[in-house]
C-alpha cells in the first residue's frame, strides 16, 4: 500500500473533538492530568468553560463525568487505557453503564504503544474489561481520519462508549473526511483465500502482512472493525461462509478481547457447534437468588433443558 502520511490517531480524535465542542456547548472534555498526552490542551485553551481538569484521579473523573452527563452534557473523559478503564472499571460500570449516562471514555497509549514505559503502562486487557460491560460501546479507530470522524459522531450519540487508541504515528488508511458510524466493519483489502479481521492501529500492520502474503500466493482479504461492540456480526457471518478460514489480529490478550468476540460469533452462529450458557449481556436485579438464577437460565432445570435442546440440533 502507498503509505503517504504518518499521523497520530489520538490527534485525529482531539481535532474532531475540538470541532464537536465548538459546535455544541454541551460537549464537555475532562482530563486526569493527561491533557497534552491526548491532545486536549487545545480544547482547554480555547474552550475553558467546557473543559474540566480533575487531577490524577481517574475514579473521580468518571464520577464527575457521570454527574455532568446527568445534567445534559456529553462528557468525554480522557486518560490512558491502563488507568481508564483499567483503574476505574467499577465507577464506569456503576455510574456510567448501569446508570446509562452519555459518558465517553477516551483512552490512548493502548496495547504495547506506551512501549518504553514498560508493562505497567501497557494495557492489554482493556478490551476484555470494556466488552463485558452491558450498554458500553467499544471502539478502536485505525488512523487519524477515522478517529477524527469518530469524535463528532460520539458527540451526537447517547450511548456510553469506550475509545481505545494507540499512541504513535500510523499510516493513513482512510481519506480525510471519511464518515464514521458505530457498528459497520470496513472491508479494506480484497482477497480470495482467507480473511483477516483486525481492529485499531493494527490495521496498517495487517495490510502490510497481506501484501507480503500475496507474494507467497496467499490472497488475503482484510476487514477492519472500528466497532468491537456491538460487533458487526453480519459481516463476520458473511466472511465466515465466504472464506471458511478467519484470522484475527489484535494488540490485546487473546482471552476476552477482539478475537474472542469473533470466536464467540463464529462458534455460536456458524462454523462450529457450541452452546454457551451464562448471563447474556444484562445486569441482575433484586429478587431471590433462586428467581434470578431461573430468570437467567442458570438453575438446574434450565441448564438441563438448554443442553437437551442443543443435543438435538
Amino acid at each position: 500500500m502507498a503509505k503517504s502520511t504518518l499521523r497520530e490517531i489520538r490527534h485525529g480524535f482531539a481535532d474532531g473533538l475540538l470541532e464537536a465542542a465548538r459546535a455544541d456547548s454541551n460537549v464537555y472534555v475532562l482530563s486526569a492530568d493527561l491533557s497534552s498526552s491526548l491532545g486536549f490542551d487545545k480544547i482547554a485553551a480555547e474552550l475553558p468553560n467546557q473543559y474540566v481538569e480533575v487531577g490524577v484521579a481517574e475514579q473521580n473523573m468518571i464520577c464527575v463525568a457521570s454527574g455532568l452527563a446527568h445534567m445534559g452534557k456529553t462528557a468525554f473523559a480522557g486518560s490512558y487505557s491502563m488507568f481508564s478503564p483499567c483503574r476505574n472499571w467499577e465507577q464506569i460500570r456503576t455510574t456510567v453503564c448501569l446508570n446509562r449516562q452519555p459518558v465517553k471514555i477516551i483512552s490512548s497509549h493502548s496495547g504495547f504503544s506506551d512501549a518504553s514505559d514498560g508493562a505497567t503502562h501497557q494495557a492489554l486487557e482493556d478490551i476484555a474489561l470494556a466488552r463485558v460491560l452491558p450498554e458500553l460501546v467499544v471502539l478502536s479507530p485505525a488512523d487519524y481520519a477515522e478517529a477524527r470522524a469518530m469524535a463528532p459522531a460520539l458527540a451526537k450519540d447517547r450511548r456510553p462508549t469506550y475509545v481505545r487508541m494507540q499512541r504513535g504515528k500510523f499510516p493513513d488508511i482512510f481519506p480525510d473526511g471519511i464518515e464514521f458510524k458505530i457498528g459497520p466493519a470496513r472491508h479494506i483489502r480484497d482477497g480470495k483465500d482467507v480473511v483477516i479481521f483486525t481492529t485499531g492501529s493494527m490495521a496498517s500492520t495487517v495490510l502490510d502482512a497481506a501484501e507480503i502474503l500475496e507474494k507467497s500466493k496467499i490472497s488475503a482479504a482484510v476487514v477492519h472493525f472500528p466497532t468491537i461492540k456491538p460487533l458487526d456480526e453480519k459481516t463476520v457471518r458473511e466472511m465466515a461462509s465466504k472464506y471458511g478460514r478467519i484470522i484475527t489480529v489484535e494488540e490485546h490478550q487473546i482471552a476476552g478481547g477482539f478475537g474472542s468476540a469473533i470466536a464467540e460469533t463464529i462458534a455460536e452462529k456458524q462454523l462450529a457447534r457450541l452452546c454457551r450458557i451464562g448471563v447474556r449481556d444484562s445486569f441482575g436485579e433484586s429478587g431471590s437468588y433462586e428467581e434470578l438464577l431461573k430468570k437467567h437460565g442458570l438453575d438446574t432445570k434450565s441448564i438441563v433443558a438448554q443442553i437437551k435442546k442443543f443435543m438435538l440440533e
Partner: protein, 271 residues
C-alpha cells in the same frame, strides 16, 4: 402547626415505613436508614425545590444518596410526600420492583443516580453542581449528597472532596451521616476518621457540625450553607444509628440486618 411539628409527624411516619418495608423485604440496612430519617424528611418536606408532577423539572434541586444502602429511608420519604405510592414500599427488593435493594436511576424517575458501591456519589454530585454552575444557575439550584461516615474510608470520596473545593462549588452540600458505625464495627475502631471536621475543612470546604436528628439543626445548617457561595459545604450530621428503636440504637450489628416480623410488630408500637 409549626413547621418542626409538621416535619416530626412526617418523620414518625417515614420511620414506620422504613421498619415495615425492611421487615417485609427480609433483608436490608436498618441502622443507617433509621438514623437518617430526619435528614431525608427535612429534604423533601422543607428544603428541596421540586415539582411533584415532574421528576425531571429543569429547575429542581438535586438530592442523592452516595450511601445507596440506606435506600429504604429515601423510598419511604418519597412515599410520605406522595411521589410514589405507600403500597409500593412492600415491593422493596422483590423481582420486578422499581425499589431496587440499592437505588437505580433508570428504574425510578425520582432518583438522580445509581448508588451502592461506596465513594462515588460525591464526585457525581460535584459534576452536577459544576454543570449547574457553568450554566449560570448556581444561586438557583442546589445539589445535596448524603454520604456515610464509614464510606469516607474510600479514596474516591476524597478525590471528589478535593475536586469540589478546586471548582468552588458553592451550590454543593454534602451531608455526612456521622453515626459512628459501619459494617464491621464502630468507625473509630475499623478506621479512625477523626478529626473529620478538620480534615474536610483543610480541603477547602465550609464545615458545620450538627445534631442530625434535630430538624432545627438541619434546617439552620442548610440555610447557612446556602449563603456560602464560594465553596462547598459539609454538614457533619451526628445521628443515632437505629434512631427510634432504643434496643438497637448505636449498635453497629444492625448496619446490615432487617427486623423480623415479630420485631417489626413490637417496635412499631414504641415508635
Amino acid at each position: 402547626m409549626s413547621e418542626i411539628t409538621r416535619l416530626e409527624k412526617h418523620a414518625a411516619s417515614v420511620r414506620r415505613g422504613v421498619l415495615s418495608m425492611l421487615a417485609t423485604a427480609g433483608s436490608g440496612h436498618t441502622a443507617g436508614s433509621l438514623g437518617l430519617v430526619e435528614v431525608v424528611t427535612a429534604m423533601y418536606g422543607a428544603v428541596l425545590k421540586f415539582n411533584p408532577k415532574n421528576p425531571h423539572d429543569s429547575r429542581r434541586d438535586l438530592f442523592m444518596l452516595s450511601n445507596g444502602h440506606v435506600a429504604p429511608v429515601l423510598y419511604a420519604t418519597l412515599a410520605e410526600f406522595g411521589l410514589i405510592l405507600k403500597s409500593e414500599l412492600r415491593t422493596l427488593r422483590k423481582l420486578g420492583t422499581r425499589l431496587q435493594g440499592h437505588p437505580e436511576r433508570t428504574k425510578l424517575a425520582w432518583l438522580e443516580t445509581t448508588s451502592g458501591p461506596l465513594g462515588e456519589g460525591i464526585g457525581q454530585a460535584a459534576g452536577m453542581a459544576l454543570a449547574i454552575k457553568r450554566d449560570g444557575q448556581a444561586l438557583k439550584r442546589f445539589v445535596y449528597v448524603v454520604t456515610g461516615d464509614g464510606e469516607l474510608d474510600e479514596g474516591n470520596a476524597w478525590e471528589s472532596i478535593m475536586f469540589a473545593a478546586d471548582q468552588r462549588l458553592g451550590n454543593l452540600i454534602m451531608i455526612v451521616d456521622r453515626n459512628g458505625i459501619q459494617l464491621s464495627g464502630d468507625t473509630e475502631n475499623v478506621m479512625p476518621l477523626e478529626n473529620l471536621s478538620e480534615k474536610i475543612a483543610s480541603f477547602g470546604w465550609n464545615v458545620q457540625e450538627i445534631n442530625g436528628n434535630s430538624f432545627e439543626d438541619i434546617l439552620n445548617a442548610v440555610k447557612i450553607a446556602h449563603d456560602i457561595t464560594d465553596r462547598p459545604t459539609a454538614i457533619i450530621a451526628h445521628t443515632t444509628a437505629g434512631k427510634g428503636v432504643e434496643e438497637i440504637e448505636g449498635d453497629w450489628h444492625w448496619h446490615g440486618k432487617a427486623p423480623s416480623k415479630e420485631q417489626e410488630a413490637k417496635w412499631l408500637k414504641v415508635l
